[in-house]
Amino acid sequence: MSRTLRPVLLLCALPGAFFVAFFLAPMVVVLIASLTTPAGQPTFAHYVRILADAYHWDVLWVTFRIGALTTLVCILIGYPLAWYLVRIVQWRPWRRFCVILLVVPLFTSNIVRSFGWMVLLGRNGLVNDGLIGLGLIERPMRFLGTELGILIGLVYILLPFIVLAVGNALAKVDPALEHASADLGATPAATFRTIIFPLSLPGLMSGAVMVFMLAVSAYVTPALLSGGRITVFSMLIFQQYSSVFDFNYGGALSITMLVLTLALVAIAGRLSEPRRA
């Protein structure tokens, strides 16, 4: 046995076996189930059923639309916030407090966070009270059970990912590059456009991919904030496994979701790949 192989096998035996047993095997089981009838005969019927049904397309469209909007809003709010924290805040204790404020939601369950928004976005919730108080609306708006409500909840949960990813990238931009740009005659706006933004793009893209993935696969937040009025794809999967108990069809839904999200992420990754000459 080669000198490398033995220690590698020793080190990887347990983690490898664990992942094969409790990660790869379950995924393979789902894949097989999605391609067989309950009696074990091979079939594409489940996939045909998904693709042929306009309802599934509707749900997919809603899911990906919410995912895309969530990502967009997260970028629009998250980039300025990351900029503010990295480049504008001078007082370290304040930045530290802001970072903690950013991370606390990440350490709290989706349930708790979405529950907070259920309370805030209700007919008599603080948001409606505030909007009426400001004279922006006359009667309470309906947020719960609308895509807007889900969007508010998802953006809330996923915003920290973008801010941390972009903030990290911005913090790593070498000030010497900005000096060089100014030295060569670029105004601050030109320096942002040509140097800082392109250099923060990989962070932005990885944050955006993360947000999009989590937004389209989110279950808890849409389930709580949709009030049963809006269905996203993960709810279909959950139904099959928790109440309908059709594991074959549920498996096909799972695989569909997996393939679609991974494909979109792969495309995004390809688009943001650092250039090679």
Partner: protein, 262 residues
Amino acid sequence: MVSALIRIVSFAALVYLALPLVVLVGASLTTTSFLAFPPQGVTLAWYGKMLGDPSYVSAFLVSTLLAVAATIVAVLLAVPAAIAIARYRFTGRGLLAETLMSPLILPHVVLGAALLQYGSAIGLVRSFPALLVGHVVIIMPFVLRAVLPQLTDEQKSLEEASADLGARPLTTFFLVTLPQIRSGLVSGAIFAFIASWINVELSIFNTTAELTTIPVKLFNYVQYTIDPTIAAVSGLTIIVAALVIVLLDLAIGLDVLSERRR
């Protein structure tokens, strides 16, 4: 001008980030029997009610035990794997690393459903071990991600020096490697613990009325009723999260955004 706009957006975003947490903690203190924010009066009665309810206490216990056990197992599995990936060049190394990290991007509902289906085939469902294996799978990447960057090449020469001085591999690991990766291990374990502690999507497939975690119990509850007890339970989890974060900040410094050179 631009800077003013950025400040306004940032302040609004910070308020937005704080709002639900503040509202929940505030509402949990109300003296009314319904959720009210700002709270009417201040009382800890709802926290008392929660602690007096054995089902909440047991859910807290299950959540904590599960998170602790899953973190320990994840650390025990992730550290050897990280060493293999960082220290050796072998075929399938990249594949191994990507497989071990992939639960991070895999939809948890899909994974939960898969584990349920697979578990029913091998008789591992709706039990503590069934919850445990799923949690280990999804939190291992956090440990791996925190430990891998600390297994640097510089450190490799320390290990070689240790071997050169006559230490056996295990001695080298405990006396040289482990102290070097301690901070990564601590932060990775904390992130792993939290990821398990707050999980719903995976747990929900394998919990029962008797064996349930706090997030799952909350999830099942808030779909039907909203009362200040729920706010108290939520408030407690927020306070735990804030405490863990302050500890983490004191231990390793969370201010990752201050790295600007010069």
